[in-house]
């Protein structure tokens, strides 16, 4: 595009705006700007004309008005008297919650399926191929509906667990799986219990420090310290000791089947809608991640594996020390864009009755206030911010792992 033309000193003719490559781009940009301004002006003008014709206006006052509806799944305090803004915040947190959960499990599913698909086991690799194909080729909407349907129908209601003589016993007396959700015991911390927790956290840190030390020792001297069992010891032993020494300060709040005639109360509850959308998004996206993982592993040239084997490295270590570090470079960028897809697909949560931001702000609030334009604009703004943050992450990562060429 940088063709060289004879600069004609001092003389500027109007025709050069079209014919001279030096000025032509300004002409194009000026035209583009005018066209864009015309389009935006046209649209905005239409919008205000149409709104004025119906006596409507754009106003975000509804955000401060009490929402009036209840939300079943909330991470922050919320009642039906809270404002629409609060309801939106609840929805945003729910979106983020399900996105984070689904990203984690989808990665697990994806890595498992991707590695197993490359396994020597014919049956397993075919099964994984089937999993990948069937989830990649059927819309996520259908999967969400099917998975929610299966959960609803195959799990029992809450009622069989309730009362004096229940039809069903809770698993280990503390876990109940119903189509309303999962009830599990919740830990209750006495003041001393927090000490145990702190010790546990410290031990985890200690474990990482030990592993780092072991690695450095390996690189420096070639001596290989055992990794597996010391890690387990470091993590669990101090915490368990502290737990008993301090007199068992952590107790369990076991779900109560007697408190209420409708539902199991108490303990730790995860609602069925959350589980359904979480599972559906994870298993759907897992299929895509599996393909990325497979492609990443296959992208590592076979010579690397053979070279490592020739050096006498054991097969397990070949994977973790030679193949995976190189494969990750290929795997991670599409992985993050899959995370982005999970976040965006979580907007289908309303199909299972999960109160994400599309269901609160873009659903019930929109319905009740009739402020469609405002709600949809806010909704898009939220998703846009999230995506830009995640794409920013991708860029940072890409720059960090760029092959350092010398």
């Amino acid at each position: 595009m940088t063709s060289i033309t004879d600069p004609q000193q001092g003389s500027f003719r109007l025709s050069m705006l079209i014919n001279d490559t030096r000025y032509r781009s300004y002409t194009f940009q000026a035209i583009a700007f005018v066209v864009l301004a015309l389009c935006i002006g046209f649209v905005v003008n239409n919008l205000f004309t149409n709104l004025a014709a119906q006596g409507l206006d754009i106003s975000f006052d509804f955000l401060g008005v009490p929402a009036g509806y209840d939300i079943n799944q909330r991470l922050i305090e919320y009642t039906s008297q809270s404002t629409n803004l609060r309801a939106t915040m609840v929805g945003i947190l729910n979106t983020l919650l399900v996105a984070v959960l689904a990203c984690a499990t989808a990665t697990v599913f994806g890595v498992l399926a991707g590695v197993l698909r490359l396994s020597n086991n014919w049956l397993v690799s075919k099964l994984m191929a089937f999993y990948v194909e069937i989830f990649r080729n059927i819309p996520v909407l259908i999967w969400i509906l099917i998975i929610y349907g299966i959960m609803t129908i195959s799990l029992p209601g809450a009622r069989p667990y309730l009362g004096e003589n229940p039809d069903r016993e809770m698993l280990f007396g503390m876990f109940a799986f119903t189509n309303r959700g999962v009830n599990a015991p919740a830990p209750v911390f006495d003041p001393l219990g927090w000490v145990v927790l702190a010790i546990f956290v410290l031990s985890v840190v200690g474990m990482f420090l030990y592993r780092r030390y072991a690695k450095q020792l390996l690189y420096k001297t070639g001596r290989l310290l055992p990794m597996g069992w010391p890690s387990v010891l470091i993590v669990f032993v101090p915490a368990i000791l502290a737990f008993f020494v301090l007199g068992q300060p952590i107790t369990l709040d076991i779900p109560d089947t007697m408190a209420n005639r409708f539902n199991i109360k108490g303990g730790f509850q995860i609602g069925a809608p959350l589980i359904a959308i979480w599972f559906a998004l994870s298993i759907y996206t897992g299929a895509f991640i599996a393909e990325n993982v497979r492609a990443g592993i296959q992208a590592v040239s076979k010579g690397q594996t053979e070279a490592a084997a020739a050096l006498g490295i054991r097969p397990g270590r070949i994977m973790s020390l030679v193949v995976l570090p190189q494969a990750l470079r290929v795997i991670i960028p599409p992985l993050i864009s899959n995370y982005l897809n999970i976040t965006k697909n979580s907007s289908l949560a309303i199909l299972v009755g999960y109160a994400d931001v599309t269901a609160t702000l873009g659903g019930i609030t929109l319905n009740q206030t009739g402020r469609a334009i405002e709600c949809v604009l806010l909704l898009m703004l939220f998703y846009l911010v999230i995506s830009l943050l995640i794409s920013g992450l991708i860029n940072i990562y890409n720059n960090a792992i760029k092959l350092k060429e010398r």
Binding site: G157, N263, A272, T369
Partner: protein, 339 residues
């Protein structure tokens, strides 16, 4: 805002077009068909049958309006709308009227700038529970899981009801009635709540309807009626008085069976004559033919006939007239006089 000035000409053109489109009746006549917003499918009120023909109580109102304008009850395009899309569809002019069991509320009338042209069904929010749950009153529902069909005023009523009775509940919002049924029957919720009419219709489609009961509490007033945009009073009048014609026809004993005879020649009853156009100029005042009401009644019958045919006691939905009986029979259905 400089751009707005730049597009002053466009604005003028736009305003002119806006004003032109304000005369909905003329638009409808020019188009040759009425665009009527209905639900995406609620048996008894509006649902397409196996051949794609829309049928139901709300559909009957649409057909009556079409018949009043064109003399042809089939000159209607039914536009299915969800709770989310119905108001924008109406506001943006995609539909001319909305007959989609929509509750007449203050904010919809004033804030959203719609005009409710009457009430064709007095409903209220009820609760459906399995019989073996042993619940006899909605006040016993403390701690229950409640399936709510979203998109109407139900969520707000429910929240208000439980708050005022100081009891708690777990809401499960549901998009469509079919999914609500699935959840409820599978025991994922203890209670299903929506308008009582909808609950009756849902219960009727169960395998064992007798295992489920409607609780006696009706926790809200839900006057459902057709609505149009604010600001086009002529068009609002057409819809309002078509509905009133159906109601008056029942009151006066004019049915789809005898309307042709009654309209053939003036009868002894002057109100019947005015209604059917054999006396006076009511049709012309509305901007319609003189036999507009006759056509509207002939389309699907009077109010009572529509009710009986679509949701009455002899249909699977089996709703009693109750509040929706004529005022002469102790109900609330009441039309201003035709004079």
């Amino acid at each position: 805002m400089k751009k707005t000035v730049l597009f002053g000409a466009l604005t003028v053109a736009g305003l002119a077009a806006g004003m032109a489109s304000a005369a909905t009746l003329d638009d409808v006549k020019a188009r040759g068909s009425l665009n009527c917003g209905v639900t995406t499918g609620l048996v008894g009120f509006a649902s397409p049958d196996a051949n794609g023909v829309w049928d139901g109580f709300d559909v009957g109102v649409c057909r009556a309006v079409a018949a009043a304008i064109f003399g042809d009850p089939t000159a209607v395009e039914f536009v299915p709308t969800t709770g989310k899309t119905r108001f924008t569809a109406l506001a943006s002019g995609e539909i001319d009227m909305l007959a989609r069991n929509t509750t007449w509320t203050f904010s919809r009338d004033i804030d959203l700038k719609f005009e409710f042209t009457g009430v064709n069904y007095y409903d209220g929010q009820g609760f459906l529970v399995p019989k073996d749950l042993g619940v006899s009153s909605a006040k016993d529902l403390d701690g229950a899981t409640v399936c709510i069909q979203t998109g109407t005023t139900t969520e707000l009523n429910l929240a208000d009801f439980f708050r005022s009775n100081n009891i708690s509940y777990d809401p499960v919002p549901i998009e469509t009635n079919a999914e609500g049924q699935q959840q409820y029957l599978a025991g994922a919720c203890d209670v299903y709540t929506t308008d009582a009419s909808g609950l009756a219709a849902t219960r009727a489609s169960f395998e064992n309807p007798n295992d489920h009961v409607l609780l006696p509490e009706i926790i809200s007033k839900e006057p459902l009626g057709p609505l149009v945009r604010h600001g086009d009073n002529d068009w609002g009048d057409v819809v309002r008085w078509t509905l009133n014609a159906l109601i008056t026809a029942e009151e006066l004993g004019v049915t789809s069976a005898n309307v042709a005879d009654l309209a053939a020649a003036p009868t002894d009853n002057p109100e019947v004559n005015r209604l059917l156009g054999t006396e006076g100029e009511l049709g012309a005042m509305l901007g319609l033919e003189a036999d507009w009401a006759k056509n509207a009644i002939a389309a699907g019958g009077n109010y009572g006939e529509l009710f009986e045919k679509n949701i009455g006691e002899n249909t699977p939905i089996g709703l009693a007239r109750g509040l929706n009986a004529q005022w002469t029979e102790g109900g609330l259905i009441y039309s201003p006089p035709f004079r």
